[in-house]
């Protein structure tokens, strides 16, 4: 029996140890590989696009290594999960680094929280770092996870979706933002499921069991 293959796309932006470890832990029978090889990514049953750091560097590497083309293929054929900057790279454009064009899988922009963010008169620190609640919109990836569960976030820029129907999880930190986006076989989250303890592991498990049908 051939086991399933999950490809975690490595385009040189940071440590993928945690994403790999968490995916492998929730699905011991799946072969989880960290790779930049387009052929391996095409062969995989599930694909994960992670990302950390600045969007300009991420997008530059995504383009230089042709990851954008592979993602464009994958999004039509198999379940694809974006994580953190992986989500932001799927939007149209980010205002980080003076403005960067992204892959445009979802219409909408990535915006700075601002240095004068506040809530009820209390100043909010940026980056938005720590455990915050996510209000779920029905989707198979939330199966078994209580609504408003907390996930671990670290980001200074947030996603504003053009189409409300593509928002699958709502977050709030001074402003409302998209904590999860989804359409067809693509799902992408602003938080780090691989760092979000039981709720995060449950989401990853749901992803690896998902056939891409919303």
């Amino acid at each position: 029996m051939s086991s399933k293959l999950c490809a975690v796309i490595d385009y040189g932006m940071g440590n993928l140890h945690s994403a790999h470890g968490a995916l492998q832990t929730v699905a011991p029978d799946t072969r989880v590989v960290v790779t930049s090889d387009a052929d391996v990514i095409r062969k995989a049953d599930h694909v994960v696009l992670p990302g950390v750091g600045a969007i300009r560097d991420c997008m530059a590497e995504i383009r230089r290594q042709g990851i954008d083309q592979v993602v464009a293929e994958v999004r039509k054929t198999k379940p694809l999960l974006g994580i953190c900057v992986g989500l932001q790279a799927m939007m149209e454009r980010s205002e980080e680094n003076g403005g960067v064009d992204c892959m445009g899988l979802f219409p909408g922009a990535v915006t700075f929280f601002g240095s004068d963010l506040e809530e009820n008169g209390e100043k909010l620190k940026v980056p938005h770092m720590g455990w915050n609640r996510v209000e779920q919109v029905a989707h198979p990836l939330w199966a078994g996870i209580a609504d408003n569960s907390r996930f671990y976030f670290v980001h200074s820029y947030y996603v504003q979706a053009t189409h409300a129907a593509q928002v699958k999880g709502r977050g709030h930190y001074g402003v409302d933002f998209a904590a999860a986006m989804g359409e067809d076989n693509v799902f992408a989250v602003q938080f780090h499921p691989e760092k979000s303890h039981n709720a995060g592991l449950a989401l990853l498990k749901n992803f690896l069991a998902w056939d891409g049908q919303a």
């Binding site: 945690s18 100043k123 980056p127 720590g130 709030h172």
Partner: protein, 254 residues
């Protein structure tokens, strides 16, 4: 609906064992770092900090292996500090599975290192650790070498500078309080938390659960770090979280 304040158990690790000293001396053995990290993860810790207090290079390899072992089993953020002096040290720890590194004396000797590290790896993974001691009325200074060496640098000004240089978070330890269980130095915690726009972790001096509450409510810390109250079984992390939540602080309890 708001961001939760965090509880961060800290493992001070020497030669592969978790230890805890009083005022940085008088070490007590508390056990195996991997087992302890796993226990705190199961108890609902929001993050874990691993401070390598071994000075030697052999110790450094042990640390890398332990960080790898912890990262394989603990799916919450992991910060590693101690002896981070070069970009290569950061890369090594991140590759081993750390999510953030904590830079302490190297930042004091060469502030540009923080800038370079933040540019290279992103502010989100750069924690600047500040060891502060009160030297006068509403006046705190940075100390290095485990609190033995004065630098003459004003702690609040230093925190502001480090934030400007690209630190993503400040880990503030009060050297007068560390290990003595009389509570955080709330004055310096509040002064720094109000002065910077990045999260501040209060550390040093926790002896009971009310100290954690005070760190957030009076010190305005975004996270509280403690070691010995958890290591020796006085309290579980979950008890601490329940106590803080009961005091009206937003916590992650699920």
């Amino acid at each position: 609906m708001a961001l939760a304040k965090r509880i961060i158990p800290c493992l001070d690790v020497d030669k592969g064992r978790v230890v805890k000293g009083v005022n940085f001396v008088g070490i007590r053995d508390a056990g195996d770092p991997v087992e302890i990290a796993k226990r705190y993860n199961d108890q609902g810790a929001d993050e874990i900090t691993f401070l390598d207090i071994t000075a030697s290079h052999e110790g450094r390899d042990t640390t890398v292996h332990m960080v790898e072992a912890i990262a394989e089993q603990v799916f919450i953020p992991l910060t590693v500090g101690g002896g981070i002096r070069e970009l290569e040290d950061i890369r090594r720890m991140l590759n081993a599975g750390a999510d953030k590194v904590s830079i302490n004396s190297a930042a004091v000797y060469n502030p540009d290192f923080v800038k370079a590290a933040s540019d290279k790896f992103g502010a989100q993974c750069i924690v600047v650790a500040i060891d502060a001691k009160q030297v006068g009325d509403h006046h705190w200074e940075i100390f290095t070498h485990g609190g033995r060496k004065a630098t003459g640098i004003n702690a609040v000004e230093w925190a502001v500078k480090m934030a400007r240089y690209g630190a993503g978070e400040i880990l503030l330890t009060s050297m007068d309080r560390d290990g003595v269980k009389s509570g955080f130095d709330l004055g310096v915690t509040r002064a720094i938390a109000d002065a910077v726009n990045i999260p501040v972790i209060a550390s040093g001096g926790v002896g009971n659960l009310d100290h954690l509450v005070d760190g957030v409510k009076i010190g305005r810390a975004d996270a509280v770090l403690a070691a010995s109250i958890f290591h020796f079984g006085e309290y579980t992390v979950q008890q601490a979280k329940q106590h803080m939540a009961a005091a009206g602080i937003e916590m992650r309890l699920d």
